[in-house]
Every structure is written in C-alpha cells, then in structure tokens.
Symmetry: C5
Subunit: 362 residues, 5 copies
Amino acid sequence: MKKSRRRKNGDLFRRGKKAGLPPGTPVFVGEQKQQHVITDILHYSGEHLEEIHAATLKDCARLKNRPGITWINVSGIHDAQAVQNMANLFALHPLTAEDISNTAQRPKAEEFDDYLFFALKMLSYDEKANAVLHENVSVILTENCVLSFQEDREGDVLDPLRHRIRSGKGRIRREGTDYLAYAILDAVVDEYFVCLEKLGDYIEEIDEQILTGPDAGHMREIHRLKQEILFLRRAVWPLREEIAALEKSETRLIRGATRIFLRDLRDHSVQIADMVEIIRDIIGNMQDTFLSSTGNRMNEVMKMLTIIGTIFIPLTFIAGIYGMNFENMPELKWKYGYFVLLGLMAAVGVIMLALFKKRNWL
Amino acid sequence: MKKSRRRKNGDLFRRGKKAGLPPGTPVFVGEQKQQHVITDILHYSGEHLEEIHAATLKDCARLKNRPGITWINVSGIHDAQAVQNMANLFALHPLTAEDISNTAQRPKAEEFDDYLFFALKMLSYDEKANAVLHENVSVILTENCVLSFQEDREGDVLDPLRHRIRSGKGRIRREGTDYLAYAILDAVVDEYFVCLEKLGDYIEEIDEQILTGPDAGHMREIHRLKQEILFLRRAVWPLREEIAALEKSETRLIRGATRIFLRDLRDHSVQIADMVEIIRDIIGNMQDTFLSSTGNRMNEVMKMLTIIGTIFIPLTFIAGIYGMNFENMPELKWKYGYFVLLGLMAAVGVIMLALFKKRNWL
Amino acid sequence: MKKSRRRKNGDLFRRGKKAGLPPGTPVFVGEQKQQHVITDILHYSGEHLEEIHAATLKDCARLKNRPGITWINVSGIHDAQAVQNMANLFALHPLTAEDISNTAQRPKAEEFDDYLFFALKMLSYDEKANAVLHENVSVILTENCVLSFQEDREGDVLDPLRHRIRSGKGRIRREGTDYLAYAILDAVVDEYFVCLEKLGDYIEEIDEQILTGPDAGHMREIHRLKQEILFLRRAVWPLREEIAALEKSETRLIRGATRIFLRDLRDHSVQIADMVEIIRDIIGNMQDTFLSSTGNRMNEVMKMLTIIGTIFIPLTFIAGIYGMNFENMPELKWKYGYFVLLGLMAAVGVIMLALFKKRNWL
Amino acid sequence: MKKSRRRKNGDLFRRGKKAGLPPGTPVFVGEQKQQHVITDILHYSGEHLEEIHAATLKDCARLKNRPGITWINVSGIHDAQAVQNMANLFALHPLTAEDISNTAQRPKAEEFDDYLFFALKMLSYDEKANAVLHENVSVILTENCVLSFQEDREGDVLDPLRHRIRSGKGRIRREGTDYLAYAILDAVVDEYFVCLEKLGDYIEEIDEQILTGPDAGHMREIHRLKQEILFLRRAVWPLREEIAALEKSETRLIRGATRIFLRDLRDHSVQIADMVEIIRDIIGNMQDTFLSSTGNRMNEVMKMLTIIGTIFIPLTFIAGIYGMNFENMPELKWKYGYFVLLGLMAAVGVIMLALFKKRNWL
Amino acid sequence: MKKSRRRKNGDLFRRGKKAGLPPGTPVFVGEQKQQHVITDILHYSGEHLEEIHAATLKDCARLKNRPGITWINVSGIHDAQAVQNMANLFALHPLTAEDISNTAQRPKAEEFDDYLFFALKMLSYDEKANAVLHENVSVILTENCVLSFQEDREGDVLDPLRHRIRSGKGRIRREGTDYLAYAILDAVVDEYFVCLEKLGDYIEEIDEQILTGPDAGHMREIHRLKQEILFLRRAVWPLREEIAALEKSETRLIRGATRIFLRDLRDHSVQIADMVEIIRDIIGNMQDTFLSSTGNRMNEVMKMLTIIGTIFIPLTFIAGIYGMNFENMPELKWKYGYFVLLGLMAAVGVIMLALFKKRNWL
C-alpha cells in the first residue's frame, strides 16, 4: 500500500530547479518514494524464462541482445546517475533520459529512430485520504527489449502481469516486445478504472450527505475534490491523443496484431476521459446543490425571524401604548379593558398566522 | 416492462474488478437482469423462414453457414462462458468477447477483418421513477450472420422488427445482413426518441411546478435530472461519430444501398444528441429559475419584516417615551395628550406606508 | 397571419409514435395546420408560364417531364398518403418520404442519385405572443422539377417569389431549377432576419424595463426567451454546415453560376447563426442584470430596516430603562430629567445618522 | 469627428426590410451618415499622380483602364442607385452590389472571377459615450483599380494613407493594386488597436471605481459594456479567418510579395481577436467583483443590525421586566436595585461585545 | 533583479500610437527598461571563441559572414533607429523590424526566404508584488547568425546559456545556429516553469488563507490574479501552435537533429499551457470557495440575530403586557404573579432553545 501523502498544488510545478541546465540533463524533481534503485529483469521466450532480481548494469548489457524478450524494470528514478547509465547502455536520446526523471512529465508517446518512448501516470487510490496518488511511469520499447521506469514498485499494478509471464497464461509468452509494452500500459490504465470507481463511490457518499445535511466541512471537501479532478484530468486527457497517434504511426516496432490491442487501449482511455468529465460535472452539480441547500436552510431560519417579528412587533407596540402614563387614558379605566385588549391581541396574532398560512409562508 | 431500479453514480465505474486480468477476458461487471441465458435464432431468406427459440450452440453452428440470413440473439450476458463459446464459434477477437460482457462499454463501432462490431445502449423510460434505464446491446455483423447480445430481452424494442421479418412486411426480407444489422440499430435508436419525449414531458411538468411554487423537493429533482442527463449524454454522444465512421469506412460488409440508411441513422443520432443538449440547457434554465424563484419568495418575506419593523419600531419607541416614569413630563398631564399622540402615531404610520408605496416597496 | 400557439418543450420530441415502424414510413408527427392538402404547380420557361391551383397527381405526372421548369408546391404534409403518392411519382427514396412528413426534422441537405433533398424551418414571428413559430419546409431538386412541401401556405414567404416568376422580374425566368431551389431557400432564410429583428426589438424592450423596474414577470419572460432561443438555435445552426456541404458537393444538379448564390446563402446563414448567439448572450446579460437589479432593490430595503433598527433599538432600550418601576431612581426626580433625556436621545440619533452617512450607508 | 449615437440591439437586425426582394438587389438598411454621395479618385503610378474630388461616373469610366493604379473611393452608400451604377461600370456580381449597401454585413472576403471583394467594419471610439462606433467598409480589388465604399469619409482613418500616396513616402507608389488594397485594410485594422486601447483604459477606470465604491450605475455600465463587446466580437472575429483564406487563395490578383503583408495583417487580426476576448474576460471579472463587492457591503450593513439587535434586544427585555406593574416585585424596593441592574446590563453588553470580538464579527 | 512595476490592463493595448504609419515602420510602444542599447556578440565554433561587449554595427558587419556561429544580442529595443540599422544590415523584411520593436507582439514564428523570426515573452516572477513580469524577446535565425533582441538584459535567463557556450559544456559548441536558437527559446521557456511554480505556491497560500478566514482583501487579490492569468495565457497559448508549425515546416534552416529538440520544446509549451489552465481553474475554485465562505459567515451572523430575536421578542411582549396600566389586571395583584411569570418566561426561553437545537439551528 502506498503511503498516503497530501498533495499540494505546487507539486505540479516542481520543475523549476531545472531551469538553466542544458536540455537533456536528467534531474529528479519529485519526492523520493523508495530508498534504493532496484532493477529487475525478466527474460523470456515461448519456452524459456529467466528472472534476475536486483540486477546490475552488466546483467542488462548481457541480456540486451540475447534472443527472446527482455523486460528491464527500474524502480526508483531519483538517482539521476542510474537513469543516465541505463540511457547510455540503450543509446537513448538525452531528452528521453530527462523525461524519465521528470515526475511532472505530461503523458506522451514519442517515436525515435530505434525505440518508442511512453510516459504516463500510474494512479492509485488512497482509501484514507480519499485522494488519488500519482506516480510517473516510463516505458521504452526497442527491437527486443522493454524498459520500464517507475517511482516505487511496492504493491504496484504490474504484479499480475509478471505472474502471467511466469505462469505462461494468456497470449503474452507467444507475443513480441510490442505486446509486452502494450500489456504494461494496459495494466496501468486498467487501474484507472479502479481509482475512478472508488472516487465515484466516495463522491456519491458526500453527495448523499449534502442532500440530507450540508455543513461547512462539505464546502472544503468539494473544494478539495475539484482540485483533485484538475490533476486527474491532466494525467488522463493527453493519453487519448497519444495512444491514437501511436496507433496511426508507421513505426515498424508495432506489428499489425498489436495495433488492434492499441485500439482497445485508446477506447479505454477515451472512456476514462469521459468518466473524469462526468465526475467533474457531478462535483459541479454537488456544489450547486450545496449552495441551494445552505441557501434554503438560511431562508428557513430567516423566515422564522420574520414571522415571529411580524406577529410580535405590532403586539408589543399595542402593549407599549397602554404602558404609557398619560393621565387621561379612558380605556385604562374600563373594567374589562385589559381582557378586551388581550382578546384583541390574540385575534391580531391569529389573523396574522392565517395570512402567513394563506401566503404559503408556513 | 423493465423493473425500475435507482441508478447510482458508481455503476458507471463498475469495471474495477477486471483490473489485473489479461486483456481479452470476458467478465460481466453489471447487474444480472434475467436468470438464464436464452439464445434465439431467426433464419430467413426472401421465401424461407425458420425460427428456433432457446437454441443450443449446435443450432448456431448448424445454421451459421447455411445460405440465407441468420440472426442469433443472445439475451443475458452475465454468463461469461456462454459469451466465450459464441465468440469461439464465430472466431471473434478476444477483445470483442470482452466488450460484449462489459455493461459499462461506451458506444462504439469497430471493424475487424471478418466482421463489424457495434456496441450501444438500449434505453427505456421508467415511468414510475421518471428515470432512463440503460442496457448494453452488442451487434456483430458477419458475411451471412448477425449476432446480437442484450442483457434482458423481455419487453424489448426488437419485437416489432422480429414481427416484420416474420410477416415479410417492408424491405427486410429482401435485403442482406447489413440491412438487418442496420434495422436492429435503428430500432434501438428510435426508442431513444420515445425516452426523450417522455423525459421532456416530465421536465416540462417540473418546470411548470417551479414557476408556480418552488420547494426544496424540486432542488433534489433538478439535481437528479442533471445526473440523469450526464449518463444519457455518455450513452448518446459517441454514437454520432461511430456511425459516421462506419458510413465512411470501406468495409465490403456494408453495401451501397445500406449506406443511405446509415446516413439516415447518423442523422437521427445527431438529432438525439441535439435533443439531449437542449434538455440539458432546459434543466439549466430550470435551475436558474428555481434559484430566482426562491430568492424572490425570500425577498418578499424579508420585505414584509422590513415594512412591519420600519413602521412599528419608531412607534414603539414613542410609546416607550411616554411609558417613562419621570416626575416632570408635562405632556402626560395634557388633557388630550393621549389622543393627540395616537393621532400622531397614526400619521407617522400612514406617512411611512405612503413612502413605501412611492418607492414601490408594496 | 399564422395562428399564434404556445410552444411546449415536448413538441421537440413528438417523434415517439414512429418507434417500431419500419424505416422509410412517412408518419406525420406534428400538429395539423390546414385542413386539406393543396398542390400548386407553376410551370415556366423564359417565355412561357402555366399555373395550376389545386392540382391533381395527374397534373404533376403530366408536367413532370415537359420542357421548362416545373415547381410543385405541396401545402399540408399531415396526409401521409398524399406525401407517399408524390414520392412514388418522383421515385423518391423511402427515407426522403419519411423526412418530409417529420415536422421535428433537423435542417439537412442530402444528395441522392437523381435529386437533392433539403429540409429546413420556415420561421415566422408571432407579434402577440412575441414568439417565433416554426414550420417544416422540404425542397426537392431534380433535373427539371422543384418540389416543395410545407405545413401551411397561408401568408407564407414564398408569395413574393411566385410574384417574381409571374412578372418575369429578376433573373429567375432565365435560370434553371437549381436557381429556383436556391430562390426558395433564400426567401425562407431572408425571413429569419425579419424574425430576429423583431425578436431583437422585443428583447431590447424587456431589457429596458428590467433596468428601470424588474419584477417577477420578467423572470418568467427571461425563462421563456431562453427556451425560445434553444429552439431557434436548433433550427438555425445546422443550416450553415448543410449549405456549405452543398456548395462543395460535386452534384451535376447545381451549376457553377448558382454556386455563387449558394455561397451568399451560406454567408447569410452564418450571419443568422451569429445573431442567434448574440441574442442568446444578450438574454444571458439580461438575466445577470435582473438578478443584480432585484438584489440591489432587496439590499436597499434591508438597509432601511437596518438603519431604522440600529437607531431606534438603542433608543427604545433607554426609554425602557426609565419605564422601570424601581423606587429609587434618582434621575426620575430631576426637574429637567425628561428633557435632558429627550435631548440625549436626539443626540444619539443624530450621531448615528452621521455615522451612517460617513460610512456611505445613506 | 463622428457624431456620437447610442447603439441599439435592434440595429444588428435591420436587414428585415430586404425580405421578399430578389437576391442581388442593393438596399441600404442602415442609418444615413452623410448627405450626398461623394466619389474621389486617386490615379497614380511611380512618377505620376492625378486626383479628382467629387468625380462623376464618367471620370471613373475614363480612368478605369488607363495604365497606373486607380483608387476610387465612394463615400455614402445610402444611395442604392449610385452603388448600382458603379457596380455596372465594373461588372460586379449583383450579390456584391447587395453586400456593399448592407451595413449589417459580416466581415468577409470573396473571390470572383475578375475581382476580390472584402467587407469589414471601420471602428472609431466615441470618447463622450465611451462606445465603439461601427461603419461598413467594402473594398474591391481588380486588375488595375481599387474601389472602396464607406458610409462617411469625414475624419476617417484613410487620410494618412492618401497623404502617403500624395507624398510618395513608403513603398506604396512602387507597388500594385494588391498592395493598395492591403494598405486600406491595414489602415482600418490599425485603428482597431486605437479603439481597443481607449476602451481598455476606460474599462480599467470603471474597474478601479468598482473596487473602491460600487454603485447601481456600475451595474448598468457593465451591462452596456457587455453588449458593446458582443458587437465588437462580431465585427472582429470573422476577419481572422477571412484574411487567412485570402492569404492561402490562389488568386492571381495578389502577388507573392503582398502575401507577406497579408500574413502580417492576419497576425494583427488574431491579436485583435485575442484582445477582445481579454476585454470580455476583464468585464466578466469586473462583474464578479461588483457582485462580491455589493454583497460585502450588504453583509457589513446586516452585521451592524445583528450586533446592535443582539445586544439591545435582551437588555430591552430586562428593562421591560422591571417596567411591569406587579404589586409584589421585591427587587423594585431594594435601595440600590436600579444601580445593580444598570451594572448588570452594562456587564451583559460588554460580554456580548467581547464574544463578537472573539468570533471575529467586529 | 527586475524592478517591480504594477501592470495595467491598458498596457496590452499600447499599440495605438502606431496607427496611421506605413506598415513596416518600427515604433517602440512599451515602457523603456534600460537606458542605452547594448549589443553583445558571441562568435564561436568548436575550438574557437570570441566575445565582444558593447559592440558596434561595424563589429556585427565584420563577424556576420565569418565562418563559425555568431550570436548578436541586442538589449534595449526602445531605440527604433538601432533596430532599423540592424534590420538593414541583415536585410530583414520591414515587417520583422516592426515586430521586433512592438512590445505588445503576440508570440509567433514566421518563415522568410532567408531567415526565421520568433517572437515570444520572457517571463519573470516579481516576488514582492507576486506578479509575473512580461518582456518581449525576438530571435532571428539565419544561415550562420542568431540575432536576439530583448528589452533589458540585466538578470536575464540567458546567462547560464552564455556560460555554457564559454565553458564548452554540453553539446552547444558542437551544434549549428539552429541549436543555438533552440537553446535560447528553451532557456526562456524553462523560466516559465519557475514563474508558474512560484505563482502556484503563492496561490496555494492565498487559498489556505481563504479557507481559514476570508476577508475583503482576498476578493481584490482574486480579482488581480484573474487578470494576471489573462495576460499569462496570452503570452503562453500561441507558443504551442507556433512551435508545432515550425517543427513541421520544411525550412532548410532547421536540421533533423534539432527538430527532436523542437518537439521537446513544443511538449514543454503544451505542458505550460496546461498548467496555466489549471492555475486558472484553481483561481476559479478559490473564488467559489471565497463566496461560499463569506456566505457561510454571514449566515452564521444572521442566525445569531434570528435566535436572539425569536427568543426575546415574544418575551419582551409578555413583559410589555404586564407593564400596561389598566386598572383592572388581576394577575398584578397575585402574590406570586411576578415569580410565576418569570418562571413562565424562563420556560418559554428554554423550550425555544430546545426547538432550535432539535431543528439543528444551534
């Protein structure tokens, strides 16, 4: 389970310390999530499987060109040197090395001469804070290797995929590197649905609460959720176009059969973008309802004052009249004056109430 | 008649339990709507008609390649195995099998080598809850078969179509599988108009009520309707583009004559998207009017308090003056002091009222 | 003059009764506007002119292929059989026949092999209700005939065109069927400007009233106008694209010289769409101003209460003090106590007023 | 200086009287701005310059085909016959003649076989009314003539251009008709910057006033400015696309060197459209601030009432208690009862104030 | 450090004084930021480096065509003659000269026959005013020179770049003029991230303050920030498209290897545009929260008045009753009348409070 951490707006902008450096310098700008950089290698073909945990750069160099498919997963991108070494080994463009380390990177897919580069966000839902946590994932697809870089591999969404490779279930062992890269992206994107489902449920709960009894805490929560959605959109929206561009690109690194899977992935990303928009609109509705609701309650309260005031102010005035000390006030001497007046006052009160009732104020 | 069920926002996101499975695994993520999966076959040509209710997989295999047109309707998609069997029989791509079972599927049209796949929503209006019910429908068009998958066939909108095939009315018996697929889509989309008409009438009714006497219940209803529209848009908007893409595609599965009908279908889906937008705007206007209305009523109430207060507070003060117990208050001893004061008070009250009238406050 | 009739939202959705019928079945879904279907024929060439009022189907068949230009105008589309007969005579596609009868049809232009089909709205302004009335018009352009279908020909906008044909004024007698079709569309669209001008004037009037004295009736009127604009947009927006598509199409039915006129028509429809948007924004501004205005008036009213309350409540308290019946209250025995107190009260009141003045509350 | 005139919404829609006329009939629909139509001719080449003020149609015919460049400026378009004569002389399309007279014309650029037609708005800022005045300008570019039509030439923005031609400054005398047409458009568009600058300054002034002391007049001014912007947008937005279309068109009337200037003009029109949007957003912000501001002031006022009321209402109640006339009220007989009570009241008041202070209400 | 200066809306529109001048006349329309125009030259190749501070026009002419790369930086564009001289030396198009001097220039990239022209904004964050300062930068890329024009070179963002050239670090000394031009743009754009990060942090701070205790000053700050964003968007939005156009252009001045860097630059500009939108939405949310917050506080205040009023007004009335001077008021003579009444009053008060509690008003 990822550690819950309260996001700050400023996080979005933590690129600043890079300014002034030459383009293509990898600099880690995020928050370090695990202590050491750990590299895992999974080398496999239809019949064969080899797994190296905590691999060295030498292991990578050795397996890089061996027949079969090599998946190198680097977990921990805060060590710029480690990223640079790996980039050198695979002859990555300096800008790619820079993008891998940049946790504020916008999702993108880029073609280079010898490889494809994907950057996207791995989302996970923090059940305690009811917040969505963002993590940067980069995937590089070459002729016979797939490199993946992530911030923290503990409890990640790629475990079921690793398990499928080990067990040989599904089509993954029969397909190429392009399918492996797709499978990684698919696993990451599938988790988005889980996050959105949980977020959706939470929002529904808040919505229910606001309809029954809105309070100032809900205002703060709506404010937070709106911010949350702003960040979610940023993680999700570009994906759609990037995958579509990839699907249409003529790179030889992606074979025809895998393009159908990419189409499906694009379809999912469109669906997710839709969902985020719907959640956004739901939060908007929630806010409108919150405002109407508190407005309604206030109106009720004020109406009470108005009714009480409107009935008693005139009556108090009448009582005030007969509290005056004029010497010549004939009514005061009438035997039943007091009782007549009480009756009169009661009548005025009843008439007022009737009027309010008639005008639908009660 | 479909059973009325209150929709939850979360339903939109019930895809989550799929995460971690390999792509192309059919998993039912919705709510089961009928007990058993029932497969019906309608095999026909210009002169010939054969109908099998509760058909087996063997029936399907037998009729699949026989000359004429075979319509296989599978009702109930909660049984992943049944869907998988059918997919195997027709050599469907694993992703298609997955999409058929996914009740949260976004409307789409996809070309594969040997078949076309359509997913869309069947809408029906729940007169009791004044809500629109959504059901997933998938249609697969092959050389000489049409497969359709739905969640619950009871009281569905395809019955008139089945009747038309049986009776040989219209052009359906003379046309190919592409026309049959079109006719299914058309029947589903035509029902949208019915739903929107009923929803429109209901909204008009609420609108009328709000103009005459808004209450807190209307606020809740507006809230619900706005949510309803969010879901409706999602079911309706993608349709337009998907049908347009199909109309322009070069698949040999759709003949020229049917393309004119597809153009008409696109036109209908554009019209429906327009209507949904108009309904959305009407609900927006309704909310504005609700807010103005309740604001107006509050203003009226407060004005009442203000007028009463403004008249009686000064008068009460005057009465208070003459209720003081100073020993030397000459007015108290005047013979007609009391009556003069009463007159004065009446005059103040009348002048105040006149002022209010003049300033248009009454 | 068209009869004024209050539009209902639901009218937009009166397509529902069609659901279940085979595609291509003409069904009238609107409100019948004249009793009988009347067909008029105008047959002309440069030198020649023949006019038949209340023509029969035979007349149509006879004139259909005769050299020259034949304009057949069918007024009254509620009789599905009459529409069907005409469609059969001219070998129209079943979907065209369906669209002609459908009063909820969205404006569109469609190319068929032998003819072009246009559907648009004829607008007229109801001066009594200050509402825009919508009527469906369909125009079919074939090699040497123009067919037009309308709901009610009384007082329509085509009369000046008929007159121009009869008198031989302008270029119309020298041009082909494409120019005639253009001239019909142009006459319909020109009337939009008249409607928008009148609507614009009416809105200006309401705007003026709101600035001087807003009341609850204006809220209702704004609500109605916003709905009105929703329907207007729907009638007007699609036109632009449809005419642009036509202008670019390669149909041989439209000659080069006429395309310049179509460009002008597109320009007009763009202008109209612009105007409708401007009117919409004006109504939006009007609503904002209405809300500010009523808010302002309320504020004024409440300020009054506050000022009166703030001055007299403390004074009344002071009077209350000296109305107490304590035995030992030395001030009560002072000879000029009463007058001193009155002076004090006046001073408090004056100071309060001065404070209000200073804080700009008066 | 143009005469200041208050614009009305309806002006936008003054096309109505054209309805029913054949297309291509020039009808003046605006407000006449000068008494007589005046035609000026400037005929020039690199070395030669001839100028005719108040030229006749014969002068135009004479200079039309003479070598060199002829600029014919017609000022006053209310005389349909004059426009028609000129149109005939230059063999303009009837629709062009119609567009020249139409003051409600949307900016556009149209290619014809022998000429290019531009319509745009000449804006000027009315310093007294702080309003932008709109005037229609049409420019026609032929092989060796440029025709320009405007509503009123007094104090117009073309004078500096005329001066440049006369003095032979700049490149204008060395370039062709296309550069002259560009120079006219450029002069008109440059004036937009002046208008927007002045409008921007005025809006800033209002903004400042609203921040310091908002009153009901500002609401009216915001309302007016929003309307102003609606009209401005309409004058400015289409320009961008029209110039872009021109820049890309393959007409032989515009040479390569002039296209670079057109690109610059497009850049200016994009910039102007941007500015109008920014002004629009600034006015929107202004309105939000106005509402918050007046809301704030109201809140302050109401808080005052609440504080006064909350302190004195309970105190008045206590005074009321001891104003009762019960025979047996022991406190009344206490020697220092009155003073104790006064102290108590003071204490209550002070405590209340302290509470308010603590809760940040003061 | 740049001097902090409060921006005015009008600044955006300071182009006005240009109107009437022939196109292509350089006129400085901004605010002069440094006293003298200073030209610096950096001439370098792989091995060689020459630097001239405060260079003359002759130096420029001398180095212009010498082998190697020449970077001429002109700081101070308020001297139109200096700009014109440089433009003449490099045979720049008059419109380019005009654009260089125009501080209100929108970001753009333009291809000419012999050079590319870029205009963009250099942003810097003023920590005191929490405002973003804008400065105009123009870059001209020719075969073997790069010209850059800026308003004020003190403390600018190009210093690290100059340092990299001097020290020979990074790839800059090995690349051509296209890479140098890219490096300048990249340095300018990287600074945007710094500005946005600081602005984002400041906005977060304000947001926090509003959640805890909103006051009228926050309203003003929100107003200012919204204006700030309007200007920021204008500086940032066009960049994206301009760089994309450049990336796709076929100019021989940009080599393939540099295009990959341009792609990265476009990616950054997209990211910045995204961030600006997010900041804008955050400010929008902030305003909503500000309004809810102040609304909430007002409600609290009014509730107080209502509760106090509702409890004491009836009690005061009762006290008023027994303050009347009727001769025959039996209760007054009861021995414990006073105490009974006090008890009664206490009971009424307690019941009222209980009711309020029950209705959740306390």
